[in-house]
Subunit: 278 residues, 2 copies
């Protein structure tokens, strides 16, 4: 295979104009879920996140870089990794990069990758899997934080039921530290999600408050789906009707509901405890 | 006691100038931990947060409001609650308020309150208390999130050892949803914190990785101090040497360390489980 000589890109023209069509497209793809769907592309920003994406064999189409933002953290090595891919490299001027960037303190690299399949059928579950289901999740930062916990606690798959956030939202990538690019995640309607869980004979344990028992009384040792509702509303009637068990995180004081990632941590750490202790 | 007639303030002069000395002072108190220490005052912004502060009997000196930001959520009732206090009320013009505010979408009320005692001696512990110790905590948002979990899980006291964040930082108040104003929290050096824990015969269970057992093997049923290190560094030699037990949150995959509030949620929910199950 012909390896692209790296420095040709450096010598080629630098994109300086804020009106350049590529810069405008980067902004659109960052801001608009619809544009991402139309083009089947999404931006991944940041050295660390892009590395996770490369390791996860995401298909990159374009890479934008701006050496003014480099901080000698291996940017060259990262860009070299694209030599053997189909991705085209473009150098941006400082202002053009700042406009394209999602971050306050960019680190000088943004890559465009092809969106990927998120059908539940992409998930392959082994024996006694631990599945996390998030219903109507809406805050990308919360989703990212929960994905971090899910990976740490060995969750086998994450299912987003009627997600109110676009999975390719830049803040999902950022707040998950790039894990969204490699984790087994799927997206579906409530019915599709339920069908998937039933097809895999998973016990559905939802977080609720009516007729609920403390979460540590749930049995998480066999194949199980831990189900958390939206931050604002909790679980609606569909899941309340279709769950096998309703669990609650007992709270004292006048504390309101907990942050989604705190609730997830409680459920997942208890599942880890039960599974390790077996 | 003489009740101040509420409407005198409304009829008095509205502060419009961004150069007004009170506006400048509000900005200083918001930005500078040093200024807060010098004056012994700190700003509390937001209806909900101020209400928690009133209920916790904080001493308010001044209240600033701007009806342009009101959203009919009981602002008048809140301002009336100050009638029987020593606090002076001031109306600000929209720009002056926006300059004084910490928020992107202010709700029109900022109060100044006196800083309060944070010595460990302020904490009174009952039998078999559950104490949470945070060492070198540095991010106000993390501290606020942990305080929310701590209250929810019935923690009896929170001790900040060598805190790298000012407890009166506006973002601690905001991210704790005002709980920092009413919770039993104390601040001290590492040695003061250790002395306090030893004086109360608390078993110190720290989060670590060397020679550590899974956190669910810790015994949290008697008086115990759960100790978490800084987000970046974890626990340093002082606490590693002085802890009674080292616990770890087992993690799979290549996940790095967890967010502080996720670690706290794991420890605290396990403590709740053990204590409820007794």
């Amino acid at each position: 295979m012909y390896a692209k000589p790296f420095f040709t890109v450096v010598l080629s023209e630098i994109i300086l104009s804020l009106q350049n069509s590529r810069v405008k497209e980067l902004v659109k793809l960052r801001e608009s879920p619809r544009r991402r769907r139309e083009l089947g592309l999404f931006p991944i920003e940041g050295l660390r996140e892009i590395e996770v994406g490369i390791d996860a064999e995401r298909n990159f189409t374009e890479v934008y870089f701006c050496p003014s933002f480099f901080r000698k953290r291996g940017e060259d090595i990262l860009l070299h990794r694209f030599n053997e891919t189909e991705a085209e490299l473009f150098e941006l001027g400082k202002d053009a990069f700042a406009k394209s960037s999602y971050r306050e303190n960019p680190d000088g690299v943004i890559a465009l990758a092809q969106t990927f399949d998120l059908q539940p059928s992409r998930l392959s579950l082994g024996a006694s899997p631990l599945v996390l289901v998030l219903d109507e999740v809406e805050k990308p930062g919360n989703l990212g934080a929960v994905l971090r916990s899910a990976e740490a606690f060995g969750v086998n798959a994450v299912l987003l039921s009627d997600a109110a956030v676009d999975f390719f939202n830049p803040n999902v990538i950022r707040s998950s530290q790039g894990l969204s690019l490699r984790m087994p995640v799927a997206v579906g309607s409530k019915t599709e999600s339920l069908d998937f869980l039933r097809a895999h004979n998973l016990r559905i344990c939802g977080s609720g408050s009516k007729n609920a028992v403390p979460f540590w009384e749930g049995d998480f040792t066999n194949g199980v789906a831990l189900l958390l509702g939206s931050e604002r509303e909790g679980l609606g009637p569909f899941w309340i009707e279709n769950q096998d068990e309703s669990l609650v995180i007992p709270m004292s004081g006048s504390a309101g509901s907990q942050n989604l990632s705190v609730s997830a941590a409680c459920f997942l750490s208890e599942a880890a405890r039960q599974r390790f202790s077996q």
